[in-house]
Amino acid sequence: MAAVALPLGYLAVQSLRAEELPPVFTESNAALLWRTMLLASVVLTVTTLLGLPMAWLTVRTNLAGRRMLAVLAVLPLAIPGYVMAYALLSLGGAYDSVLGNLFGWQIDRPRGFLGAVLALSAYNLPYMFLTLRAAMQDLDPSMEEAARSLGRGRLAVLWTVVMPQLKPAFLAGAMLVILHVVADFGVVSLMGYDTLSRVLWTTYNTSTAQEAAPVAMMLVALACGFIVVEMGLLRRVRLDRAGIGTARKQSLVRIGWWHPLVYLLFAAVFLISVVVPAGTVAYWMSRLGAVQWWPDVREALLRSVEASVPAAICATAIAVPIALMRARYPSKSSFVLERLPFIGYATPALAFALSLIMLCTATWVPDWLYERIYQSLPLLIFAYTFHFLAEAVGPVRSSMYLAGPRLEEASRALGRGRVATFFRVTLPVLRHGLIVSMALVFLSCMKELPLTMLLAPIGFETLAKNVWDYSENVEFAKAAPFALAILLFSAAFVGVLLLEGREDQ
């Protein structure tokens, strides 16, 4: 219920305020919108042009070591955008840069549009790669064989049979990439490329929350617009296997002499998206020397954990009834209920945080309440919980579908009541899903930047915030230990994802 009331309430407040303010559709705002969409479409193009062949190569060809390469291609998931941006920024520049210090190379700092595209593409490529790869693995080879037997060549089959079947996966991947770019704060702020998010931040920082509201509205509207378009495009797709019979193994395309070229492609991607950030962090760590960094890092680590652990528990606790309702009482309303967490996920974090601030600071909120919640830890935990709720619902739901309602009915038929059944059968069966849910939300919160920037209590310095602050001040060495801590947690995140994927098979 809170999940419903919150975004709606905030939207209402938002639009009320917006009317008293300068109109949303000014020339500068239109330019902002254009810059945001330009960035999103370029990143989408880059990730598609790389992700599609990479997925195909690791699924449908006899590429040697393709499993290993697939894992390597997923690794950039462990590197948050702002760490990526930090790494790229510290590579070049006129003074004290990684390349300058190590090799004596002088390159320009990759700032602005180009830098943003590079960092965001590297960070988003795994999402596109993974969705396309999963879809390709599920392709039914008999459909392609049928098309071949009907006289179409390999290339024609690729266009007429394979590509159309990949459409839903591509749309889902594209949706993720676009939402990430639109909502991104860490990369664009460090790279200094003005998008809606960055302007929202600077406006809020230099002025008031009210002034930033129109931009936040545009941000939300943009995200909603993309979701509506995607749903419209998806509606017309239907891809069930018609008829029975088991799908067989796919035949592999031999790529023979192309091997070196393919390895070069993977190596280049890996170099930019993993070696550069990890190497940069390692380099700056080595430059730290005698600086006493551990007390600060420990402090930040504690802060991050302090906010992330309760959020992970809350999100999982809320996810259980949501998933249970959907799996056991399928109806229109439970369908809507299950979708609600995705609103929290799709709402750009900065806009979400701003809406919470506006709610807290609204004139009708009594002073005692305002003092309790504004810039308080519970509010931050609340924001984390609902922003990442969708991540918690997924694993709980899939383990619930795995279990199926028959188990509960079996327990009832054996003489156990509803409550006993829940604790003795449902919960134990869900245990694995609950652990994965908690791990995912916890690790996401550990990396989270924009919500923390706006909502954290004064002096509440998390790992992510430290990385951003030091990078913004061009103190790359000082940022390194915090970035390293985040990389370690993120690597654990990817580990959980990969393990979960393995258990699903």
């Binding site: 199926g404 009915e409 079996a410 009832r412 038929a413 003489g415 156990r416 009541g417 003795r424 134990p428």
Partner: protein
Amino acid sequence: MTAPLLRIRHLTKRFVPDGPPVVDDVAFEVNRGEILVLLGPSGCGKTTTLRLIAGFEHAEHGYIVLDDRVLTVTPGCGGAPGIKPVHIRPERRGIGFVFQDYALFPHLSVLRNTTYGLRGAWWTRKARALEALRLVGMADLAHRKPHTLSGGQQQRVALARSMAPAPKLILLDEPFSNLDAGLREATRLEVRKLLHEQNMAAILVTHDQEEALSFGDRIAVMNCGRIEQIGSPVEVYEKPATTFVASFLGRTNLMKVNAKAGVAPSAIGTLRLDRAVDGDVTVSLRPEHLSLTPAANGDTGEVISRDFRGHDLIFRVRVGEETYTVHTDYRCRFEPGDRVNVLASEAAVVVDAKKK
């Protein structure tokens, strides 16, 4: 004769309000120790009927009484119009249920699965569970987890689990359909023997007519939410009450004839009917009640197909406008194109009585 164990009247259920009923005014009884089979095509409401009896679904109308205990009653049913509706919760019904996919608890061992439905001290529960597992031959694997078992073994555990609390009635929802053909037949016989030995009544749901005939003491044939006929396997097979029963249970030749005092002319000569009726009726003649002889007199037909199956043969024979299916033993050696006479060795069964 003692009172039946389970009595069901007017049982009705719709999933969509104002939609067609999935279970439509179903009534039947199950006696102590008796195995009743609910047979019907998929979507005929047989599984829903079973779930209504187990209490997983709420009946819209009707009453269910087990051993003089009212499990389900709706107003206007089985009592005064103002009677309070009753729906005993599944866990209070004392009815065992074996699911099609077994629904073994994946986080519990075989033994723990089996003790799950038992109450009391651990050692008594354990002893009882082991006894049930021994009955199905699974006591040796009591400490294994369900996913390490084969389909047939899981099936046995599921059965032991629902039999352990010694319910008076066990409901079996297509429990053999996930087993492969060879195992299915053996398991079927074993389970049947076991149920009879324990004197447990059971209701089995299946769409497999062969399974129904061999497993059931009685068979209830369902179609479109209604029970079309209830009777012993022999009765239902030999005297189908409706065209649906006749064609669903085995192969049959259905024909429309004009009867007069228990006999009717047809393409294969004058047919003897199983009862004295007059007028237009539909009759059913089982293929094995027909035989073939080399063409001799007027009503000859032509063999149009021959399906050799080793121990027997199935012929399709065209006589005039009609085509007959004839089931003969291995000795009948006709080829397509041969001229033959079709003879009925039994009386044809009238499947739509005079009322229509």
